[in-house]
Symmetry: none
Subunit: 126 residues, 4 copies
DNA sequence: GTGGTCTAGACCACA
DNA sequence: GTGGTCTAGACCACG
């Protein structure tokens, strides 16, 4: 369940995972993240690795750390919404650019997506 | 013009770039790629890096090396079409997964894409 | 209003703040400081933190604790004046050193300061 | 010569030191910094600590790192000049605020600085 | 208990 | 050779 793909830094994979949990609303503004030690045990990596992860998230702005108290999901919901929107646009843009780079027309892209979504309709988590 | 993003191996970035040129039809089946030396100069990287790139492309199957003659785009157009289709599905799948991971519904994904495409309608390279 | 910068110990930030109030004359010799409990509530920090702050100020000499009565601004105005002068020289010295470390000449330092002061002439609190 | 003050993280002290060398022009745009290993030996700290330092500098923008080649002073002189100017204003502003917080008038600040500079006239490095 | 820093030592991918 | 990542283990300041 908590395993990592090799070749991409663990601390970044973990950061991404947590970030998605935040953006998806599974971790809400103000929520306390597990302490560095605890998280390290949970995901079975070194404390230092978790440290880097939390610092990365801090840099991104989705997380704040209060000395001696712990690390918390930022209560600045504005930032979270901005980030959600920004990431959305970014992913769409990258996707389209990638497809165009391979020579697909906008029509093909749109159709391809629709077919894919119809195909997997029941799979999205409810 | 020929710059590389850091943090992702240069040789893979170059491989991807060439691969896209092939899939897009800018390099046609049977075309000769620049020699390792020449390519290294053109894109300003180490020859070792280009070597790895060509080996990578060979592994993928879009390129063939003929000893003493050089490196050529494969004339097996079947492979190219398969690959195009495979990459297309892959990119779509990754895109959708990424969006769902951030909590977007299929509706939002489809709408987001349509809006983006309408917005950039004239921008596709002619 | 009462927020703290991270990465610098809260108890020192608080000590500095109170010290400045004393040196500025907002808290006068003999004035009673709020009790540890009260101060802790006012600035929303742990009582331990306020304790350390008061101990720090005692060490500096701007504050005296009388058992059972509370903590008071020292009535030894001599000390306050000495401290004012000492801190002044210290800050100037640090400032100049920092500027020189970045390669600014004395001329640039003096000019920079004058321009800044002219620019903010009306802003000093009345 | 290369010792560190305690209580302030070594990696930040080192970053500051290098940054000042860059801003002062002792390390010029395009210059290669010592490799992580070499620097670690020179200043007698662990490689990891130097890593953090270089990363910090990267974040600030005064330094760029090219995979497999090393870490270099950015050739973007625009950024360096901006930073110099920004830091200058920042330091002046902090200085003035600190002095005003202690109750000194603009006159006192200016005079204090002039006296200090006259006093140390010969000390600035030529 | 919490985050932060540091060390020693190891391994990897890249140029 | 270069930077990057990771671990194990330690110590510290802060709340």
């Amino acid at each position: 369940m908590t395993e990592f793909h090799s070749s991409h830094p663990i601390y970044l994979q973990l950061a991404e995972r947590i970030n998605e949990q935040i953006l998806r609303g599974e971790r809400k503004p103000g929520d306390k993240l597990p302490s560095v030690r605890e998280m390290a045990i949970q995901v079975k990596v070194n404390q230092n690795t978790v440290q880097r992860t939390y610092r990365e998230l801090e840099g991104i702005g989705t997380v704040e750390t209060r000395r001696g108290q712990g690390t918390f999901v930022t209560e600045n919901t504005g930032i979270l919404n901005q980030m959600r929107e920004r990431l959305k646009q970014e992913k769409i843009s990258q996707f389209v650019q990638g497809m165009q780079a391979m020579g697909f027309s906008n029509q093909e892209i749109e159709n391809g997506l629709q077919i894919f979504l119809r195909h997997n309709e029941g799979d999205a988590k409810p």
